[in-house]
Symmetry: C2
Subunit: 376 residues, 2 copies
């Protein structure tokens, strides 16, 4: 089964770019994707945009400057999975034959809106008492450590790996060769998560141009894309926060693609916090539940390991421009599958997988998970 | 051609309901729709939500309280056409065979966020200088009056008609028998538009449950739904603001349905301001361009006229809860086509049309228009 093909991808830089307009981030991403695709923007016949904090109408404003008008434009909010959801919808719209050439775009101007962290909204009772995303992940990490004996050192190894991977990613300056001790001695944010285990506010955009499979050599095929929303956790679950939803979504995506997890050669997953990557690798089935710490320690998720996870640097190093994140993951997997990832290339990967979580400002009310399987 | 069938619709009350949570508005709308449809909420397998100012994650929060979880949830922002866009996507997802039973929901808590009018956002340079929606419509009305000789009295007649229609709408208390003089002597908002010619901030929700056509007698068939976004106006257009986009979208919707405008027996259109209904009736082809004033004056758009427009009271009387408006229009047309509209029933209508505009906070950057053709 093939839903659609990706003709081209592109991104802006990933950095604190305070004061830049959404246009200034989105335009280079779209133009790069169109350049890769070899398509004229005038031929795009629908646009799906992922954005969480963009003001109403921002998508049309961005597109107008590119001369894209009088086509359907859908702006989708699905928390941190907004860009992934836009891509998901773009692919399904192509599969349904609704459109021929679709732009999926994610864009977020985070540092213009927030200074250091996402502030809770008025109606967010959990956020108001400090129970924002770092606290949620911190508590999940605590519980997980208690249950499975995960060590602080194993948690830190996720960040060590991803920041090192980002050294070879020329779209961010955040790459660094940190020691475990440097990760653990950075400022404590939400016990046991230290600063370097939490993704940064980042301004960026990412784009993909999608259409029907056409046999062009450079195209990346979208084998499947699954999306689930809902209660990510309840007090009766014996699993860590997010585990159930990621597992169910991944099973659906792999099932639709007719593949097993062992077929996948490269992964971009939602490591907004180190514990997120640990839990996600387990939920994807890269190891048994409770063994994610050993998995990263074994080197299996390193770029030269059996299951390379976040060769781009992931959300931890690249940052997390909410609406753009899912499409940045898609872009990275495309470059990996085409053998164009330069110094961070995973050799020989033919199939790749992205996983994006939307934890949402409403905390435990849960949100979304999108899993996509791509073939080079 | 039939995209999908509407199994049931529902709405909350339409009023200033400050302090009510999105849940308190959405739940009665969804439960009414499910009751009409005779479906269990547990059988819903995807949800499309329209909301402009809802905080991230609000849709999942609302749905969680209804026990709807672990299905795809898409929250779509498309300015004032957000609810219409959610419905459009729900129908196309059903038509593509992606889902069997889809909830389309629009919800907006306006008066909790804004006091008297929508305030411009930080990045909205036009809004910052006072060029918000009332000013845009006011300038459009000025230009239109200059070009076509539309009188203040003709403009006011739109409001007279719609407020009178709302007297028979038990979902709002805003209905009133105003004279032309009372409309014209209400406070001036944006010359020539007076207060009673501008829709009110309103808190409400509206819902529809959609699935494949199944031959059930009470179902309403969705013959077509078209959506365009883009530049609503440029300085070279000889038409009033919005005319071109409404005309093009309506042509697409009617063309897909294989119908002409003369086939349609009842209309719910976007009368956020009186001039909007005038321009829309022309763009739909109910009269020639420039003759919308005569059309309303002739009584043709009254409930017992040839082309009944806004029998519900429209946005002018019912109010304009942005994300809910498009679905409120759909609900009204369903009740009309089923002969269940009570005192405001248009006799014998077999086909109905909704038109929703999204002007957007970005003003002249334009936004969206959705036109849907329904058959009872």
């Amino acid at each position: 089964m093939t839903l659609a093909a990706i003709y081209g991808v592109g991104t802006s830089r990933f950095a604190r770019q305070r004061g830049l307009l959404a246009e200034q981030l989105a335009w280079p991403a779209v133009l790069e994707a169109a350049g890769e695709a070899g398509t004229a923007l005038a031929d795009i016949d629908a646009v799906f945009v992922g954005s969480v904090f963009g003001e109403p109408g921002v998508a049309q404003r961005v597109l107008r400057g590119l001369g894209i008008s009088r086509v359907p434009v859908y702006t989708i909010e699905n928390a941190c999975a907004s860009g992934a959801t836009a891509f998901h919808e773009a692919c399904h719209a192509v599969a349904a034959g609704r459109y021929r050439l679709v732009l999926a775009l994610g864009v977020e101007t985070m540092t213009t809106k927030f200074d250091r962290a996402i502030e809770p909204m008025a109606a967010d009772a959990e956020g108001a008492i400090g129970f924002g995303m770092p606290a949620i992940y911190g508590m999940a990490a605590n519980l997980y450590q208690h249950r499975h004996g995960l060590t602080d050192r194993q948690l830190a190894l996720v960040a060590v790996k991803n920041f090192a991977n980002a050294l070879d990613n020329d779209r961010t300056d955040a790459g660094a060769r940190y020691s475990v001790e440097e990760i653990l001695s950075s400022r404590l944010i939400a016990d046991p998560l230290t600063r370097r285990q939490c993704c940064s506010l980042t301004d960026a955009a990412a784009a993909a141009i999608v259409g029907p499979a056409r046999g062009a050599g450079r195209d990346v095929r979208v084998r499947s894309s699954a999306l689930l929303s809902g209660a990510l956790w309840d007090q009766r679950s014996t699993s860590a926060w997010g585990f159930d939803l990621v597992r169910d979504t991944a099973e659906q995506a792999l099932g639709q693609a007719g593949l097993g997890i062992e077929d996948i050669g490269v992964f971009e997953v939602h490591d907004a916090f180190t514990i997120g990557e640990i839990v996600t690798t387990e939920a994807l089935g890269l190891c048994a539940e409770g063994e994610g710490g050993e998995l990263v320690e074994s080197g299996a998720t390193a770029r030269d390991g059996k299951y390379p996870v976040n060769p781009s640097g992931g959300l931890l190093a690249r940052g997390h421009p909410l609406g753009a994140t899912g499409l940045a993951q898609i872009a990275e997997i495309c470059w990996q599958l085409r053998g164009e990832a330069g110094g961070r290339q995973v050799p020989g990967a033919r199939l790749g997988l992205t996983e994006t979580m939307g934890g949402g400002a409403a905390g435990l009310d849960g949100n979304a998970c999108v899993v996509t399987v791509l073939e080079g």
